[in-house]
Amino acid sequence: MNEHQGSSGLKALQGYLPLLERCSGLQADPVPASEPLQRFPGAEPGGITTAPPASAQEIEPLHKQPGNHSGEGAAKPRKAFPVLGIDYGHVRIPFEISLWILLACLMKLGFHVIPSVSNIVPESCLLIVVGLLVGGLIKGVGEKPPILRSEIFFLFLLPPIILDAGYFLPLRQFTENLGTILIFAVVGTLWNAFFLGGLMYAVCQVGGTGLNHIGLLANLLFGSIISAVDPVAVLAVFEEIHINELLHILVFGESLLNDAVTVVLYHLFEEFANFEQVTIIDIILGFLSFFVVSLGGVFVGVIYGVIAAFTSRFTSHIRVIEPLFVFLYSYMAYLSAELFHLSGIMALIASGVVMRPYVEANISHKSHTTIKYFLKMWSSVSETLIFIFLGVSTVAGHHYWNWTFVISTLLFCLIARVLGVLGLTWFINKFRIVKLTPKDQFIIAYGGLRGAIAFSLCYLLDYEHFNMRDMFLTAIITVIFFTVFVQGMTIRPLVDLLAVKKKQETKRSINEEIHTQFLDHLLTGIEDICGHYGHHHWKDKLNRFNKKYVKKCLIAGERSKEPQLIAFYHKMEMKQAIELVESGGLGKIPSAVSTVSMQNIQPKTLPVERALPALSKDKEEEIRKILRNNLQKTRQRLRSYNRHTLVADPYEEAWNQMLLRRQKARQLEQKINNYLTVPAHKLDSPTMSRARIGSDPLAYEPKPDSENLPIITIDPASPQSPESVDLANEELKGSSHLSSSPEEDEEGLVMRVKEPSSPGTDDVFTPGTSDSPSNQRMLRCLSDPGPRPEPEEGEPFIPKGQ
């Protein structure tokens, strides 16, 4: 019966995909109901494939032999070879899945096109509304809308979201608040489940005829299903409100870790409901199983995480499959945990957390980017689908609305949450150093959103044993909708109203990293001096163990010995280089280094710098020659490489260029130093030399007010223009100019005379102020040649011969 999902999905897409419009138009073709499979394909060729409608008409008879035109088929002794056949059943499932995903993506896209909507209403709400509409449409057409099947949810939709959360878990905050999170997740969820279950049982006892048959265990089961805060819903809402990290990790961590409690309670009560009598031993076993489920999940996750890290040690030759290992091992961890009814979510998180530091050290930067993007992509698609299906399922499912039950569920849910948070924070605050303020408590209580996990768990219930399932589902959906819509929509204004601390947008800087490490060591030291073995002491011990043994096993080569600070520094450098390339050239350096150079912070090198302009003309010329030759060689080699590589990745190429240039620049610096025979500071650190040569001149760019700078277009091949380099932004400006003014276009290959400009800068290296051409040339020699993002546009670099 599912085949109509697709067509109705298409209907919903009408606004977005004009191409598909014809398809749904064609769908109105009268087709016998006995052939539901044929109906949609009949529409297909006209809509999706570009096959001419005539041929579609021709084919149809062939395909529908048992149907209308069977007489014709029977008359023929031998069937003609089908030139074009239709077999929708063959592709149906993947086709419909793709359509649903497409719908989800287009919806997501649509929400971001209209920013005013997504500013007020969280995406999750919009998606549920879309799901409701789509479900209504499907129902309106007279078909049965699909329901969010629990197996699909737990096996395919949930893992990407959890893996994304686990892999990018802010470990530091998480471990620092682990106690609080655990108390909320375990005690809080237990409290919610039993409080709600007990009260609902009371309600059922007095609530009238419809409810009397619901026993205590069924109510407790219901309570355990509904009590867990849902990670998907929490993520969806909290990502948007940018709340401070502490609150985020508290609520989010709780939603992740309460999985174990939910799983145990769920299975426990489900089993108990079938028992004749529940003995004390059963309860003890249930209690034990909590530890087995949670710790077992973590154990499975850690095992897979270690294996993944170990595998990634050897992937240096086959970089392309590196990301796959991360996904596969994590998924295996999830499945293995589910296999034993352990907590799959815990396993996924544990594996993500364990493997990440080692995998990241082993795999290439590109693979890391791939992992990042894939995880984000998968998780956001899953999330979108989950919310849409939640809406669709609401329309599709059977509902049994009982006012008493639903209203009291909702009410007790909220009360239990508030009481639980208040009570637990009172207790936790006794031990916390950074106390949770009433505001924090409010947000934690308010952020307790319920979601699709509860729905799916309830859907999993066996109708045989729980004939009140429909009522449970209705109540759960009501609670989900209430939390997602009402709380999700009001939490942002409330956060603003209460002036809850927001997340600070800080770029992790090298200074911060140094300070953080310094502080860590300091605190460890103070703890040791106090003779108190606290948090920092054990962390330090663990770190040392990690460095001494684990890293050696799991990380290949030299990187295993790399201290964290150096690794961080390399990462940052890499990021800067990439940012540099991505920003369209070396014109503007986005990093902090841009405005300050080494000579600013180390005055002793100043004499070297000063000595430069004072050189005699011929000496200067000589230096310039060296510089020019070197840079030109680089440029030429890279150009040719560029031309002969079919699938040149401009990104990587530009980045390689960057590194090459940096290296070159470093060598040149050395040469200059030798040449100038300035003995002091020959042993500049790499950054220093790089900074001076690589970024110095670039920092002194013409200010933005010099927009009307004349374009410098230089032909590297022509002898009268010795410099093969120019500043990338000049060239970008140039290209925009080129398109606008045709007469400049004609002169594209000629070097233009530079006019003095940008009077605002008092900088020697600014090309504007210094009229002397030698100075300008010096600048350009020193600067890196910009990468060429669009080689076709950059006429200056194309040799005259072309």
Binding site: I433, V434, T506, L519, I526, I529, I566, T595, N600, L606
Partner: protein
């Protein structure tokens, strides 16, 4: 004497974090009580909540005696006896901080040869946790105090600036736990960090300008992103507070 420091005098901050709670001195009842006590003005007390409780003081005093081998003062050598400290890469800086007179809030400069229990407590009081009862002003001072302590650890020549040389030293020490120490790497990290600091604190710089070092004001700027008040504390100093602010 200390009360005067709490005035709006520029450049000086309320740095008397007061290891002595009024109630604590008496209730501790140990010999520590003699060294703590009444010397401090009450005006300071009203500003600064009691950092350390009697239990903690007692514990610290036991530890102090253990370290000093029952002497009244601790010398640098006494810190050598702490085995765990041996692996700490910034060990010397930490030990130094205990004897730094700037941290001890004595008027004079330089290094002390030995510190008594009161000084020991003073140093420890830098690692007090934040308290909910603090208002904005107290919080700000609290923050500054902690950062000042850190700043002094970086600024080893006491000229009020963290120069490039000092910064390199710090990074080298941080990396010294590593057997394959590359001086080059440490230097380039320090250089990068210094450039970053300069660009954060000064912004656009001409080639003639010289950034001599990170001043305390710059240091504050750099730490803006990190909630030092919630990070720089030792758990031990957060036992249930008994004393109250009078």
């Amino acid at each position: 004497m200390f009360a005067a420091l709490h005035g709006p005098a520029p450049g000086r901050f309320c740095s008397r974090v007061l290891p002595r709670a009024p109630g604590a001195g008496g209730s501790a009842g140990t010999s520590a009580g003699t060294s703590m006590g009444t010397s401090t003005g009450t005006s300071t007390l009203s500003l600064c909540p009691p950092p350390v409780t009697s239990d903690q003081i007692e514990h610290l005093h036991r530890r102090f005696k253990q370290l000093s081998r029952d002497q009244l003062t601790i010398r640098k050598e006494n810190f050598d006896s702490i085995p765990d400290l041996e692996f700490n890469p910034i060990r010397s800086k930490i030990v130094h901080a205990f004897f730094d007179k700037r941290n001890l809030r004595q008027e004079s400069d330089g290094l002390a040869d030995e510190i008594d229990f009161e000084d020991f407590l003073t140093i420890m009081s830098y690692f007090r946790p934040i308290e909910t009862s603090m208002d904005e002003e107290q919080l700000e001072r609290f923050r500054r105090d902690k950062l000042k302590f850190l700043f002094h650890m970086y600024d080893s020549d006491r000229d009020g600036k963290i120069t490039l040389h000092e910064y390199r030293n710090v990074v080298e020490e941080l990396l010294s736990g590593n057997p394959h120490l590359e001086k080059e790497a440490a230097r380039s990290i320090a250089d990068g960090a210094m450039m970053e600091a300069a660009s954060i604190c000064v912004g656009q710089m001409g080639p003639d300008q010289v950034y001599e070092g990170i001043t305390f004001e710059d240091f504050l700027k750099m730490w803006q992103g990190i909630d030092i008040e919630t990070k720089m504390h030792v758990r031990f100093l957060n036992m249930e507070p008994i004393g109250h602010c009078y």
